[in-house]
Symmetry: C2
């Protein structure tokens, strides 16, 4: 028995965000979301929130948990910045690259052992810096390099081979699969599997189960979860980067942990209320997912006025053209 | 009375493209399309093909028609390459910039008169060239610079002010509005208006009426239309650029005229059969629109075997990750 994957269930999700040109609707984004507490009770939801979908990079926190629970992070003396980067989809800025290299150095592992592949930094200025210096991007510039450095540190701690740490049958990926099964209360063997952009396995999991896993990260007795949430709160720039949505939202609302995933995904934890959430924009578009997740969060009765106001602002993004003329907006559906 | 805009009619469009990770659906794209002949008879359709939507850059051919019909193109001695660039959303490569400057030079107009705004070239290598030389992008790098050079040439030919040629009440934009009204058989005053990325007016028009306009471009008696289609056929690299979808499709299927528009739009003409078409991906995503329009075209009974095979290949695009590992595909819905 396999989880019915997102869209295999024949349901039509509601419109969660719209793009306007002037006052006229131009495009629209459908999707689903759910907010649950640590018992799995639904606090808010829309659309098909039981179908399985690929959370992609949104679950980097769970990919980091075994690094801490195994004792590897403590053994190699990783600090909050390094734990934050292990949970990041970073922009490849100088500080991101420095911290990724620091993780590898502390674990005594060469950059060449990374198996994430190289791509130009997400941050335009970081890319232009490489171009100006005639340099090619390295694997440490990959937005997942912190996560991969952490995986390599875990492999070394487990005395497992470094080579092939991205493969499904490697102890590192097996530890991550077990973590997801435990936190999300799923049998990962039932989950459709794919290969992620950075070559590690990614599993399609039911949206409500993913949200449950994130609610459980709010457990104050859980050392690994506490460390991860604290690291993200202290280092929002390391989780994403300059001008990135996750970073700006966590800077504005430090009590929120939020993490983007490719293809229109957001997951996160509202630790002070013990809630977890998951959202996916059907079409995989980040602009739709961003305004929709901000709106979904703003409507929850768990914020002070400043926090709610910040989230409400993120729920509507103005569109300007090449001459900075206002031409429209992307707005969450009320 | 105003055209009911796209999405205001409460209809749910069908899924026209899906994204798979491995064999599991990850994301999906809804949309609508229509193919009509010059009498307005429907040849193929899906979804809400009567709602109005913003065709954006897909109608650059119609924005070029008054340049020819007024005699401006002939007066300034524009050639096929220059007419192609007037209809282009180009990548800002060296040849695009050269041809844009050539249009302006022939009309005796300075680059400073452009009002499209500047942005980095769409072509990555062209952008890196600017960065390597410490240069900022100019307005001629804007993907619409050919169209704007043509608009300026028309303004000069009409003895209208050059400044403000992008404004709705300028004779250039009024000539374009009249052209759209005539070809698409619409009263443009009923159309919702917005401002495009390059600052000119853009009107939301019913999809079936837009397709009708493109079918009428197939009229062999129409000198302007004949010139535009010939220019595009001879210069597919000028209509878009290296590795761009429109360029590759027209190189593979020269009997097809196809033009992308922002927010998931394609329009075009199948001149040898007298057909026009229009397609919009609801969510504004080009990857969904690309495979869907290729599939829609491949299914039409108007191609030879080579042409159909080429279009079928464009209807399914493989996805690879940073290490060139195959991870999935984007496919038109069968």
């Amino acid at each position: 028995m396999v989880f019915p994957a997102c869209y295999a269930r024949g349901m039509t999700n509601p419109v969660i965000a719209e793009v306007f040109r002037g006052d006229t609707p131009e495009s629209r984004h459908r999707g689903a979301f759910i907010v649950v507490d640590a018992t799995g009770t639904t606090v808010a939801s829309a659309g098909d929130h039981e179908a399985a979908f690929f959370p992609r990079s949104a679950i980097k926190a769970f990919q980091c948990v075994p690094l801490i629970e195994s004792g590897a992070a403590q053994r190699f003396g990783l600090d909050d910045a390094e734990i934050a980067l292990c949970c990041a989809s970073h922009s490849g800025e100088a500080e991101h690259v420095r911290v990724a290299r620091s993780i590898l150095a502390k674990a005594g592992i060469g950059e060449i052992c990374l198996e994430c592949g190289a791509h130009m930094p997400t941050a335009r200025e970081a890319t232009y810096d490489l171009v100006r210096h005639g340099e090619k991007p390295l694997q440490v510039h990959n937005n997942c390099s912190g996560k991969h450095a952490g995986m390599l540190a875990l492999a070394k701690h487990l005395a497992a081979p470094l080579e092939g740490y991205v493969k499904l049958d490697h102890p590192v990926q097996q530890a991550i699969a077990a973590t997801l099964s435990r936190y999300c209360n799923v049998n990962i063997a039932q989950a459709p599997m794919g290969i992620d952009g950075c070559s590690v396995p990614t599993w399609a999991l039911p949206m409500n189960k993913l949200a449950l896993g994130f609610a459980r990260l709010a457990d104050a007795e859980n050392e690994a979860a506490r460390w991860i949430l604290r690291a993200a709160r202290i280092h929002p720039l390391l989780i994403a980067g300059t001008d990135r949505f996750d970073t700006k939202v966590m800077q504005a609302v430090p009590r929120l942990f939020i993490k983007v995933g490719a293809e229109g995904v957001f997951c996160g934890t509202i630790a002070h209320e013990g809630l977890g959430f998951a959202l996916k924009c059907d079409d995989g578009t980040s602009r739709g997912a961003e305004v929709a997740v901000a709106h979904m969060l703003a409507k929850l009765d768990v914020w002070n006025d400043n926090e709610r106001q910040s989230l409400t602002i993120f729920a509507a993004q103005p569109l300007t053209n090449w001459r900075k003329i206002s031409v429209g907006s992307v707005r969450a559906t009320p």
